[in-house]
């Protein structure tokens, strides 16, 4: 049954080559197709599929209510919420503007639902992240191994460097931070506990005195101000990491697209 299986694959392959060639072939209407029409068509097909989405949603929640499955009462909220928005979106306008632009007009019932129901829910869900960022960093930033330590150090320095408090941290605390990071890295190498602690305190005191002599407390060298350290971390190691990941991702996308265009990756079409 060629039609059922292979036609979709042929369409996929030909569309892939067409889109890629569109960037190089010098024909205006091909270029106009790949630049403007093709992505628009995606939007239109996706919009049609939205019907399927809503039918699926209605089916799912109504069977839940009819069959009295667990938490069925809450599904009534979903159904009412959905139907209300469709009613305000297409049938009842409530504002002077015609149907369509009324979605953004302040006096339409649709906008009321958007402003006083959808908006608070959406921005509060987003705001939950402030709590989860705290619990995630509390749980994950532990000095388990060297990599986790780097994650912790750059995370903390970035957090402090970005807020005014970061600038207030005095130079000697920064020295202590440097020394403790150094010793944390070599902690596993020095077995004897006493030697470890004495050398740790010795190093701290020695560098503090050195700093005092060199007058660091007067003119703060750049490597002792947390905001400047943060800027350096952003400008050098983070840029290197971002660039490596960006090239990696781009190669991954190009390879995956190649596999799709040459029809080698077909499982998306159920084959």
């Amino acid at each position: 049954m060629f039609i059922k299986r292979q036609l979709a694959i042929v369409v996929m392959i030909s569309m892939g080559f067409l889109a890629l060639a569109g960037q190089f072939i010098n024909s205006d209407n091909l270029r106009e197709f790949t630049d403007k029409d093709a992505p628009q068509w995606y939007m239109i097909i996706a919009a049609f599929a939205a019907f399927l989405g809503c039918i699926n949603l209605l089916q799912l929640h109504s069977t839940k209510v009819i069959r009295r499955k667990k938490d069925w009462q809450y599904s009534i909220f979903t159904l009412v919420g959905f139907l209300l928005m469709i009613f305000f979106g297409f049938l009842y306008n409530g504002s002077t503007v015609g149907l369509g632009p009324h979605l953004k007009n302040e006096f339409s019932a649709f906008y009321w639902m958007y402003n006083y129901v959808y908006l608070p829910l959406s921005s509060t869900m987003f705001a939950l992240l402030a709590f989860f960022v705290a619990s995630a960093s509390y749980r994950a930033f532990r000095i388990r191994n060297f990599e986790a330590t780097l994650l912790l150090i750059s995370g903390v320095l970035l957090m402090l460097g970005r807020v005014p408090i970061g600038a207030l941290i005095p130079w000697w605390t920064v020295i202590i931070i440097y020394v403790s990071i150094l010793f944390a890295l070599f902690a596993s190498k020095i077995k004897n506990k006493q030697v470890f602690f004495y050398s740790y305190f010795g190093a701290n005191i020695f560098i503090l005195i050195l700093g005092f002599l060199l007058g660091w407390h007067v003119n703060l060298p750049s490597f002792l101000s947390i905001p400047l350290i943060q800027e350096w971390i952003m400008a050098v190691p983070a840029t290197a990491g971002s660039r490596a990941i960006m090239i990696g991702i781009a190669l991954g996308v190009v390879a995956q697209s190649f596999r799709i265009i040459t029809g080698r990756e077909r499982s998306i079409l159920g084959d």
Binding site: A50, G252, V254
Partner: protein, 294 residues
Amino acid sequence: MKKINIYKDFILFFTFPVILIILYFINPSQLFVTGNQTSFIAILISCVTFEFFIRKAKNGENFYMRPIPAMQAMEEAVGRATEMGSSVLFVPGISGLDEIDTISGVIILGHVAGMVAEYEADLHVPCCVPIVMEAAKESCKEAYLKKGRPDLYNDSKIHYVTDDQFAYAAGVNGIMLREKPAAVFYQGKFYAESLLLAETGSSVGAIQIAGTGSSSQIPFFVTSCDYVLIGEEFYAASAYLSGSPEMIGSIKGQDYVKLLCMVLIGFVVLVSFFNFLNITQLDISSFFKINISN
């Protein structure tokens, strides 16, 4: 290893691209757009390299692929879910089918569905975009069929939640809290809601395996999930899991293109050094001229 007919191969992998490049530069009757020669050559070289190694793999040569912990953990996670008698939750990301991340996520879903069919666990796939739901149903149905268990495929378990990013996160959080899945997969394109999902997943005590190409969300998955496919590993995962020689060959080709990128970076640094010593006056940006001048 079957002897490759060198003569036929030589034509395919050397002369054909060279002819194409020459044709592109002659640009007969303005057939080609001027100005993006560099991209044309770059794309051509990458595609030829992929094709070369795919063909080599198809002719029987097998390549070593380094083990990626996140992929080995997938089978283990599905096994754990079956032991504990709870479900496997697969989150295919919140972007549409016009993103390569989502396509890779749905392909990985196909492989995971195959594992679930073998272990007779139950799979739950809440989708954010209706088209992705259709593609997910398509590839799951096929995966169950290939494992000979079409009876286990339960169509209602792959359903649409909502299109909105945070409503989807709220809905999936609700599913996780009430269903308490033992294994959770996040494979696809994610935005700010990644941490909402991952933190709920870890509070429910599930094994979490994430994979995404959205580089800004990888840090949140790294801190909250047990295993993460970072950037390129995520795209290679679908080829890894299929294990077919063609796919493995294309990853080998990907590595060689990466090597080429590193060589190019070295070349660029060298040229900028010679420019500094003004031995050469090569202007790098002219070589990388990318804008389409039409």
